[in-house]
Amino acid sequence: MKITVDTDLCEVHGDCVVAAPDIFDIGEDDDVVQILNAEPGEEYRKAIVQAVKMCPVAAIRIEG
């Protein structure tokens, strides 16, 4: 599975960090979210799907 974030859409709401803290992070001064692990294992799928659902601007995509 591959994770991408549309940085034009991202407004650093941080809901993805709450849903999947092993995959996403936000620094205090970041304009867009950081992807900590862009190709995570299947064990993270549930948390990432939740992050996708929670994102207020629908910026996160899962491929595969």
Binding site: E11, V12, D25, I26, G27, E28, D30, P56, A58
Partner: protein, 396 residues
């Protein structure tokens, strides 16, 4: 269940329909909406749409709601629970065996005489277009109400150099966040050229055909070519007021599973509710039902209501701990304001960090010494920590 009806075509109704399909429901889904547009996102209205950086199309909510029967431009007039039908404003009846109440709220309007034109509210796409078209470079805009909408609109217009004066009876803007945050927010707006008239009420509007000014209760006259009344919202609850449901301040009361409670205190298995037309028991609200008017609350309630409606009462799950932490955001100038927790519960505020140059700010709200919420300006990482901390069960 074969006939699920959502009344309300906003974020909650749309996500609810998506949630039903994701949960495997293959019966009919009908969304009744009094809007002319398919569901759209409201947060950009006072910011990107007003500024012209988003088109109306870009405000559409993302994703599909597969196989929905849309009943657009129609208002629900009455809920007949015995016959399980929703009666619409054209007399048509929509039958349901599962129902979502998600009619949300509308802008509170000025309760008094008004000029024929020039006084606006801002809640939907049409409002935003009408307000926008009334503003030119020489406009003198008076905003009545220094809440979030009033402050966001002020910020959007000041970026274009439009003259803006904001009036409120409160002593500082966005009073739900407390006086410390309010004072700093006022300073940020003033540095950008917003004029405030705080702690002062509006007596009325001047002008007949078109607004020419706003008269304050102390006699001051503010010249105005356009006025925005941004004094909160009222629930769209008239259609179910006589349906024998439990109500609190004109919103429907549900339990923590989003199942609606009837007037005798019993759950109504076939009716769920979501968004800012509903109140549910929150652990920071002393267990009382509270109505949380945030985007994220509509999202979380709608997602849960869809799953729960398909289950027997005994199998329904309550709101997840993280989702139960109210959160909101507001963008004003280059300041990202974020909040976590139930701010209305706070009885004291503590400044934890501050950098007026950046600007950044972190404030905690406590009740009886217990943390109930936090507010951050441009501290996007810190606020996430509070979201997590507040999601944990309160120490007993």
């Amino acid at each position: 269940m074969q006939d699920v009806v959502a009344v309300g075509g906003g974020l909650a109704g749309f996500r609810f329909a998506q949630g039903l399909r994701e949960a495997g429901y293959d019966g009919r889904v009908t969304i009744v909406s009094d809007e002319k547009h398919l569901p759209y996102d409201r947060p950009p209205l006072s910011k990107q749409l007003l500024a012209g950086t988003y088109t109306e199309e870009q405000c559409a909510l993302p994703g599909d709601a597969p196989d929905v029967t849309w009943v657009m431009g129609r208002r629900a007039e009455r809920l007949d629970r015995e016959r399980r039908v929703v009666v619409l404003d054209d007399g048509a009846e929509v039958a349901y065996d599962g129902l979502l109440i998600a009619t949300g709220r509308r802008a509170r309007t000025w309760n008094g005489p008004m000029p024929a034109s020039g006084v606006h509210t801002l809640r939907d796409l049409e409002d935003t277009a009408a307000f926008r078209s009334a503003i030119d470079a020489d406009a003198k805009v008076v905003i009545v109400g220094a809440g979030f909408i009033g402050c966001e609109v002020a910020a959007t217009l000041r970026k274009e150099g439009v003259s803006v004066t904001v009036v409120d009876v409160a002593a500082y803007p966005m009073p739900v966040m407390g006086s410390e945050v309010g004072a700093r927010a006022a300073a940020i707006h003033e540095a950008q050229g917003v004029r405030f008239r705080l702690g002062r009420g509006v007596a009325g509007f001047e002008g007949e055909e078109r607004v020419t000014g706003v008269r304050l209760e102390d006699g001051e006259l503010l010249e105005a070519t356009v006025v925005l009344v941004a004094v909160g919202s009222v629930p769209n609850s008239e259609w179910f007021e006589d349906a024998g449901l439990s109500m609190d301040r004109s919103v429907v009361v549900c339990d923590a599973t989003c199942t609606v409670i009837d007037a005798s205190g019993q759950p109504v298995p076939e009716i769920v509710a979501a968004g800012d037309i509903a109140a549910w028991p929150h652990h920071h609200g002393d267990g009382a039902a509270v109505c949380i008017e945030h985007w994220s609350n509509a999202r979380d309630m709608a997602d849960l209501a869809a799953v729960n409606l398909l289950l027997p009462i005994s199998d329904r799950s309550p709101m997840a701990a993280t989702a139960s932490v109210p959160t909101f955001w507001s963008d004003q100038y280059d300041v990202k304001i974020k909040s976590a927790g139930f701010l209305r519960a706070a009885d004291s505020w503590t400044i934890v960090a501050e950098d007026p140059e950046k600007p950044s700010l972190l404030v905690e709200g406590h009740r009886n010494g217990e943390l109930v919420g936090a507010i951050a300006f441009n501290m996007n990482r810190s606020i996430i920590g509070y979201q997590r901390q507040l999601a944990a069960p309160a120490p007993s």
